[in-house]
Symmetry: C2
């Protein structure tokens, strides 16, 4: 049995899988319109907004690009807070279009500190938008988005644009209350679906900016998605089977209760971290900066390579992720989001202990599990 | 039982459905790389090219946009042959980006005539690219792409760019031999998959133009797809479940044999047309211009409305499409592509006869079926 524990895609729950097996329907049918209307409305809870999130048939990156090209014009300056690969992706998109880019580079593995942001905003007072990554998948950092958004609004009129791909649906998000202007997420993370859908929610203030913006775009023109959503449809053919799945995965979240889902992710994070510490391995992020959806762990430097560990895990069908870019061969990452429960953490840690011993890392078998169980019990 | 007979999405074959139920895998895993490598290679047959088709997680329109923005620069002129809604979509994309657009508008329901194209090319000798629709879904016309491509090459150096969304996999396509530079298709038509994947094949000549082109693009930058495909992966998260399905639907086409698949579509077209004629209804397209994947039929003008007919059909679970734009309420369209066989044509015609009689159109029951069966028998 495969245990896919990378930070997305995640395993698909059988009932979501089954929902996707419903007979195909026309994308302009009443049934499909009901599905679009209904799923968009229910996504509002996940985003914490009264706006209806837009649904795009694409991977998450297309939605990041949509957030950039719908708001920025050639003369605009943008500030990107880069805490890893996905912050860097925002920066790459902005550069590709020739908008003026200011980077606030944060050491990978750390969250953006409010003071660093204040300083950057003071240095670049004319930015049109500030781009953040809520959960930085490449390092397992959760940026304090509520606080950071407040700081932006205190210091400027810039739009606050957030990549929430690898955490939305597993972490608190009060987009409206926190003053977030655009929030983006994808299907294959905490929403427990295959990849292929992206979601974008837009504030009134951001709509105003988007309506003034003339950067050319067609497939990623958010206005066309908004206008078609008002008619319960999409401008281009919707990914119908994934929408069926979305409706069911939202139902799972509604049944458990979003607060409980968020609590469960918090618990899985704490269990994982306790186990890693008990095994004497080194966590990449501090408790304060750690994401509830993915945990990054250092390898043994000269002593053992995390990719060797990942291979041993793969041999017993447990798939975890490696490091990206300069973190290749230095860290491994455990995804614990979406269709993942406390007992699954025990499974992952059991496998990890087995594999660590197999590659000759001196650990005490069962010690990680015990630490995880103690957290579990205590909740 | 639902009979979805619109010109896409089409019904999903159970074995394709089942293939999509395989456990989720990481998009950067060896298994996923093998899937990408393997499906791209096998798509070459459908396109008739030695190039490896690129795979994008999007609906077909994004791939049309990719074809435009990867080849055209602000100073470029483009000629679009508009035979219906989807030719018009190419034109809209080109306009949105501010490229210089020349339209060759053909009467809806007719294919582009070689002489009309010659005249347009003479009038606009400097076009960088000519855009065609192979099968115009909105009218059921199949443009004579081989011939039209030859004419472009005789008269200019323009790139030949073709939207093959609603026919590729059901009609002959020899992209390399016919001199087509970019060919685009989507998953939800003759390839028997849910919507959510688009495919783009690019000639050497077009790659040269694309490499010179600096129109900004990120998610739709074909070069990034080409470079990542050379490493058996995609630049952004692949739509894994749809790739599983693609592998299986290609297997179905391989098992039947592409020539036989094409033959079957030709036969279904002929059966449908014979039945429609026998019932005394009026076909929108001539035999010469008719597409093998979709047939457009006029309503009874003042006598009966095709939308009323469609409602009667829907009551017995047979879903056909209406007209788009100025054809709304004037025509209905039967999709017969992908997971559709001669016996399904008999089913559709049976339903059609029932529904026609129900709304009071004087027809002889069984006469359409008989005409279809005679075509079937004769093959």
């Amino acid at each position: 049995m495969l245990h896919l524990r990378i930070p997305g895609p995640t395993p698909i729950p059988p009932r979501v899988q089954q929902a996707m097996n419903q007979p195909m329907i026309g994308h302009r049918s009443k049934e499909c319109s009901a599905l679009i209307h209904n799923t968009s409305k229910r996504l509002r809870l996940i985003f914490g907004t009264k706006q209806n999130p837009l649904i795009i048939a694409s991977s998450g990156t297309a939605a990041l690009e949509a957030a950039v090209i719908n708001t920025l014009s050639p003369s605009d300056e943008a500030l990107v807070v880069v805490t890893g690969v996905f912050g860097d992706r925002f920066a790459k998109i902005i550069q590709k279009y020739g908008f003026t880019l200011h980077r606030l580079d944060i050491e990978w593995g750390k969250a953006c500190d409010p003071d660093q942001l204040r300083a950057a905003l003071t240095k670049h007072p004319n930015v049109k938008a500030v781009f953040f990554t809520y959960c930085e998948t490449s390092t397992g950092v959760l940026n304090p988005i509520q606080k950071l958004s407040e700081i932006v609004h205190q210091h400027s009129d810039a739009l606050v644009i957030v990549d929430g791909v690898s955490c939305l649906g597993a972490v608190p998000c009060e987009m409206d209350a926190w003053g977030i202007d655009i929030m983006v997420t994808g299907s294959q993370k905490a929403l427990m679906l295959p990849p292929g859908l992206a979601f974008v929610a837009v504030s009134e203030r951001a709509w105003h900016a988007i309506e003034q913006n003339s950067t050319p775009r067609f497939y990623l023109d958010l206005i066309s998605y908004r206008d078609k959503l008002a008619q319960d449809t999409t401008p281009f053919t919707a990914a119908v089977s994934l929408l069926y799945g979305l409706s069911e995965s939202l139902k799972m979240i509604e049944e458990e209760g979003l607060e409980q889902v968020i609590q469960r992710h918090e618990q899985m994070k704490t269990m994982t971290r306790a186990a890693i510490r008990a095994l004497g391995l080194k966590l990449m992020t501090s408790d304060e900066d750690a994401a509830p959806t993915v945990t990054s762990i250092y390898g043994g430097q000269d002593k053992w390579n995390p990719d060797e560990l990942r291979q041993e895990l793969a041999n017993i069908q447990v798939i975890v992720a490696g490091g990206q870019q300069h973190l290749k061969g230095k860290i491994f990452r455990i995804g614990h989001m979406g269709y993942c429960y406390p007992l699954d953490i025990c499974t992952i840690i059991s496998a990890l202990e087995y594999a660590l011993q197999k590659i000759g890392v001196p650990i005490e078998l069962g010690s990680g599990i015990k630490a995880a169980q103690e957290v579990w019990k205590g909740v």
